[in-house]
């Protein structure tokens, strides 16, 4: 049995761990609130952008010289996966969930004979996927050290993606990120960026009476400016959801850790008290049997 001193040391060490996890939980909770409100503030823009693009895109998508950002290259050979994770760990299964999802996608695509390229956003995912797919990496972006992610950061990512598209380096672009369902549940999910998914069927029915827009300048020029912006919005939204999800997951993980530490402390304290009592009893027996022998 461990000595009393050892037990005391262990209890102390678990106690300080609990303090740290508790503090991390508080910090994550505060940051979660900020990330959530930022994600909510970005929603109206994304919604309106979608509405505008739906009315515009439906008109242009069918023409043969539609921009590649909208309809892709027409092939389906090279896939670019944009994998979005957090820059830090200690958030439960947050990063590995996306990692696993991305790995399954890469395997499935390669089994179909497609070429896969990976652009990772966030440090943790890069580390995770590099172990297996280092040869498929085409780029890494990390927002480490930034307090809040601005729209300009998303625009940077988009500039990279569209430069690759222009160079013909991929045909289909898919975004993999953690969708923020609630504080306790984030779902790794994928979203196709290029070709842009157009909600055509519903839109045709709805847009009937007000479909005739005038454009100034021309339709093509507006679309050429609108599409990169739309891509930026999609990426920006995913980044925000991702960071909100990260803090949610971290808060949860730290809450669990704090609770486990508490349980551990209780167990160790019980053990400590038992050992102490056993020692006292042993000493008493020694004293009594010594006195009897006299």
């Amino acid at each position: 049995m461990a000595s009393l001193k050892m037990l005391r040391m262990r209890i102390n060490s678990v106690k300080s761990t609990r303090k740290i996890t508790q503090a991390m939980k508080m910090v994550a909770a505060a940051k979660l609130r900020r990330a959530q409100s930022q994600a909510e503030a970005a929603r109206p823009y994304a919604e309106r952008m979608e509405r505008m693009l739906a009315s515009l895109g439906a008109a242009v998508a069918s023409s043969p010289d539609a921009p590649p950002l909208l309809v892709g290259t027409g092939r389906d050979q090279v896939h670019l996966l944009v994998v979005m994770t957090a820059d830090r760990g200690l958030a439960g299964a947050f990063n590995s969930g996306v990692g696993r999802f991305a790995r399954a996608r890469v395997r499935a695509l390669e089994a179909e004979g497609k070429t896969v390229k990976i652009l990772s956003i966030g440090r943790k995912g890069a580390v995770y996927l590099k172990r297996e797919f280092a040869s498929r990496f085409v780029g890494e972006v990390s927002f480490q050290g930034k307090k809040t992610v601005e729209f300009a950061d998303a625009a940077e990512v988009v500039a990279k993606i569209s430069a690759m598209l222009e160079a013909g380096e991929f045909d289909v672009c898919t975004l993999i990120y953690n969708r923020f369902k609630s504080v306790i549940s984030q779902i790794p999910s994928e979203q196709r960026l290029i070709p842009a998914p157009l909600p055509e069927v519903q839109e045709e029915a709805k847009a009937g009476p007000q479909a005739v827009y005038e454009y100034e300048p021309s339709e093509e020029e507006i679309l050429a400016a609108l599409l990169p912006q739309n891509l930026g919005v999609q990426v920006y939204r995913a980044i925000l959801e991702n960071s909100a999800g990260f803090y949610g997951a971290q808060m949860n993980a730290m809450d669990n850790a704090t609770r486990n530490a508490g349980e551990m402390i209780n167990k160790l304290t019980l053990n400590y008290n038992r050992t102490r009592q056993a020692n006292i009893t042993k000493e008493l027996i020694e004293i009594i049997s010594g006195a009897e022998a006299v």
């Binding site: 009315s55 007000q210 827009y213 454009y215 100034e216 300048p217 400016a225 920006y236």
Partner: protein, 137 residues
């Protein structure tokens, strides 16, 4: 005045304005545009400039936008601005910085593509408009 329409001004970071107004003047790419209720449906690109909002027969708000889009329907105008600031909050220093950046972007354009040149030009014009707006009393 005849009726009102819903004006919405959103930037990627937040919803700046959403309320019924009587008239809005929008800096469209090919000239300023006054929009009244019942305007024909349009989608226009914006250049850097000031959106003026009229309510109750008076101009109540000036907002500077540095580019974006506007969707106009008879009962609603949605402005998707890249970035928007109320003119009162616009600082000369920030405008000067933006202008300096845009001018720096113009330097090595001889070798680049026409699209890049266009983009830089648009950025420069927007920055110039920002400076002019900030310096106006």
């Amino acid at each position: 005045m005849a009726g009102t329409f819903q004006l919405e001004l959103v930037s990627p970071a937040r919803l700046l304005l959403s309320r019924p107004v009587e008239m809005a003047v929008i800096p469209a790419a090919e000239g300023e545009m006054g929009v009244l209720p019942g305007h024909a449906p349009m989608i226009v690109a914006l250049r850097g400039g000031v959106i003026s909002v009229t309510e109750g027969g008076q101009v109540t708000e000036h907002l500077f936008v540095n580019g974006g889009f506007a969707e106009i329907t008879p009962e609603r105008v949605t402005v998707l601005a890249d970035d928007a600031t109320p003119v009162a909050n616009l600082s000369k220093a920030a405008a000067a910085t933006a202008l300096a950046q845009a001018e720096a972007g113009m330097v090595d354009l001889q070798s680049s593509t026409p699209e890049k040149r266009d983009q830089a030009m648009v950025a420069l014009l927007s920055a110039q408009a920002m400076v002019a707006t900030a310096e106006a009393p």
